[in-house]
């Protein structure tokens, strides 16, 4: 696999770091908000739980046992068979997904900034359905729905507009039940959801080394429902994590393993994706950065380490930028990140379409990211060495100074190349004749073409009614 050839670490460093992660969990431990069911599950699983302080420590043998219980291969389900995602991806490349959350929107036609609406989210879901390299989707923060149930409304919009897998960030402990109910409705029932998990749930640590009640509830209910859990550590190096790369990797890995342990303690065999989503702290302003070199290096290192040390599927930002606009800086940042995370062996690259440290979304940027991701997946397929690919006979049959344009070998392979969508390579004259368009212009044309079509996904009317009923129940229960 191409991704296994590039590593920041030697085998002995991996082993040392692995020992330190387990030692941190055994000696320093993590702190949980009060959650009686989680405390009990962890204690029953062999963890040392102090229910008074919330401190939980995991003896090494306990952690090793729980790690073995976590499956290393599983699927993220979907409502169309060709949208089901096998992890790791069978062709040894990766999947890509859009941003989660985000409240800002760059209008495609005007490039003006405004707040996201549920109509925008519906369009976003339709766009994702049409983009072949974007494998799954998350909801954005819609500013035109009740804030107390924005997550439930958000997921409902996704389920109505795309069959692709949804990864779900609950905004409150109270929402979790309704989000899972929406998943059950979409999948066709609780046991159908367990067999074909059309949702996976995001649980986050509160770096450093702490877990909020909401995230414990997410892990608890998701494990009970057999839903895959995307265990996210989001440390900021120098702020909520050590300033050094190895230190932030150590912290992120420990927090992820703690969440894995919780999931296995509640329900052994719960699929867990390791998500070391690492930021660095801008030492001039204190803001979090996604696209600093330090964040890149730590994210890449964390993915390489977790895969090598624990064999878990990994997932982190593989696109996105810190720039507030889709400019040259933004394009450079995201291209570097996508390339790096692909080569690092990450199973999922996240953040397609996002700007300004994951707070702003741009449909045109999403279209461009779809192209870049396709190019990097092509890169990740490696270089085939066969008799045919070495072209020995073709070379032997070609005179010195000759050419290969009319050879049958070229004819056979001319369509192996990546075919660009919105990237173009005209001469200057050709570019002028075509109207001097840049990639944003071409992305806009493509956007209009896709959105003018009818939505290829039609949500069953019975499901539409059931979704609305669940959303109504959530609004009634959760809005004070």
């Amino acid at each position: 696999m191409v991704g296994q050839n590039f590593s920041f670490f030697s085998p002995s460093q991996i082993e040392m770091l692995r020992d330190r992660v387990l030692a941190l969990l055994q000696t320093q431990g993590v702190k949980l908000d009060p959650h009686p069911q989680m405390f009990k599950a962890l204690a029953d699983a062999g963890a040392n739980v102090d229910t008074g302080t919330g401190m939980v420590r995991f003896p090494k043998p306990v952690m090793e046992r729980l790690l073995k219980q976590a499956p290393k291969k599983f699927s993220l389900g979907a409502r169309q068979p060709d949208a089901i995602l096998e992890l790791p991806r069978p062709d040894e490349t990766f999947y890509a997904r859009t941003n989660t959350g985000g409240y800002g929107w760059i209008e495609p036609d005007t490039q003006n900034y405004r707040k996201v609406t549920s109509a925008d989210l519906a369009g976003w879901a339709r766009l994702v359905t049409e983009l072949p390299e974007i494998s799954f989707i998350a909801f954005l923060f819609c500013n035109d729905v009740p804030v107390q149930t924005a997550d439930v409304h958000g997921l409902s919009v996704l389920l109505k507009n795309t069959p692709k897998h949804a990864w779900v960030q609950p905004y409150s402990a109270g929402s979790v039940e309704y989000l899972i109910r929406l998943g059950e409705a979409a999948a066709g029932g609780r046991s159908a959801l367990a067999k074909n998990p059309v949702l996976s749930m995001i649980a986050c640590s509160l770096a450093p080394k702490a877990f909020k009640h909401m995230d414990l509830e997410i892990i608890y209910q998701s494990a009970k429902a057999s839903l895959p859990i995307q265990a996210c550590s989001l440390p900021g190096a120098g702020g909520t994590a050590p300033a050094t790369t190895a230190g932030v990797i150590l912290l992120a890995s420990a927090e992820i393993l703690a969440m894995l342990a919780m999931a296995q303690a509640v329900a052994a065999g719960t699929p867990v994706v390791a998500c070391p989503i690492i930021f660095s702290t801008d030492m001039r302003t204190g803001r979090s950065l996604q696209s600093s070199v330090e964040a890149f290096k730590a994210a890449s290192g964390a993915v390489q380490f977790i895969k090598a040390a624990f064999g878990l599927p990994t997932h982190n930002y593989g696109s996105g930028s810190d720039s507030p606009i889709p400019d040259g800086q933004g394009m450079s940042e995201r291209a570097m990140l996508s390339m790096l995370m692909g080569l690092s062996g990450s199973d999922i690259l996240g953040g397609a379409g996002q700007l300004e440290v994951a707070t702003v979304l741009s449909p045109l940027q999403l279209i461009i990211d779809n192209e870049v991701i396709g190019m990097i997946r092509q890169l990740m397929r490696g270089i085939e060495i066969t008799d045919d690919s070495l072209a020995w006979d073709v070379l032997a049959g070609t005179k010195p100074g000759g050419h290969f344009l009319t050879s049958k070998h070229t004819l056979r392979h001319c369509r192996d190349v990546h075919r660009p969508g919105v990237f173009d390579r005209p001469t200057r004259e050709g570019w002028e004749r075509q109207g001097k368009k840049d990639v944003m212009d071409r992305a806009l044309e493509h956007y209009r073409k896709l959105m003018d079509k009818e939505n290829p996904y039609h949500c069953d009317t019975g499901l539409l009614r059931e979704i609305d009923s669940i959303v109504g129940a959530a609004d009634k229960q959760l809005i004070e």
């Binding site: 959350g101 409240y103 923060f141 804030v147 107390q148 924005a150 905004y171 409150s172 509160l206 909020k212 900021g236 120098g238 702020g239 909520t240 300033a243 702290t281 030492m283 001039r284 302003t285 204190g286 803001r287 979090s288 440290v357 707070t359």
Partner: protein, 208 residues
């Protein structure tokens, strides 16, 4: 040994050395006013200029502030009208429903380093707790922080409570999802998009 050694110790972010040198200067009979102005406040001006020029970073700025505070605590009992040292009183906290604190703590530390007296209420703070603290402290500024879009309404609720109780303090808001437009919409007195900006804004609002 002169007051310049105190100045240099602050620039060197060495709190222990600052404290030691301040004691030495006091024992030599140097006036507290000279120690304060030339040894402790003057280096912060230089630190501020270097920070704006990008020559030093946040952790260094915070360390200089801590070093200066160390020296200040030694001379504080000897200063008449010690409260006049304070640039202003600030009550700061993360609003109800939100547990994120790193940005808020950074703002608190930088305000302290700039000479403000800061009461840090922590996270998940009820509007009534902000109000009570603002009244007890006679705060000049109440600073509200939120990281989550879903907790921004709590900023509005807190602001409303403060205004209805007749609090005269300036109310500042900040945090990743917050912007000037939101601050204007809810009637806040100011918004800053990062910690250094919060210090500049606080000084400006109090006419410093």
């Amino acid at each position: 040994m002169t007051v310049r050694d105190i100045f240099n110790a602050v620039l060197g972010f060495d709190k222990e050395l600052v404290v030691e040198n301040v004691h030495k200067e006091l024992s030599h009979g140097t006036s507290v006013s000279v120690i304060l102005k030339e040894g402790l406040i003057a280096p912060l001006d230089e630190i501020g200029q270097k920070f704006t020029a990008g020559e030093i970073f946040l952790p260094e700025m915070l360390a200089a502030g801590q070093a200066m505070k160390g020296g200040l605590e030694v001379i504080r009992p000897k200063l008449a009208g010690a409260d006049n040292l304070v640039a202003g009183k600030v009550v700061i906290g993360t609003v109800k429903g939100d547990l994120h604190d790193i940005g808020k703590d950074l703002v608190a530390m930088m305000l302290e380093g700039a000479g403000f007296a800061v009461v840090n209420l922590g996270v998940d703070v009820e509007p009534e707790v902000f109000l009570q603290s603002a009244q007890e402290q006679q705060a000049d500024i109440v600073a509200l922080s939120a990281l989550l879009t879903t907790t921004m309404p709590a900023m509005q609720a807190t602001l409303k409570r403060l205004k209805s109780a007749g609090i005269k303090a300036k109310v500042l808001v900040g945090g990743a999802p917050v912007n000037q437009s939101f601050a204007d919409q809810i009637g806040a007195d100011g918004y800053a998009d990062d910690a250094p900006g919060a210090v500049v804004l606080s000084k400006r609002l109090l006419g410093k």
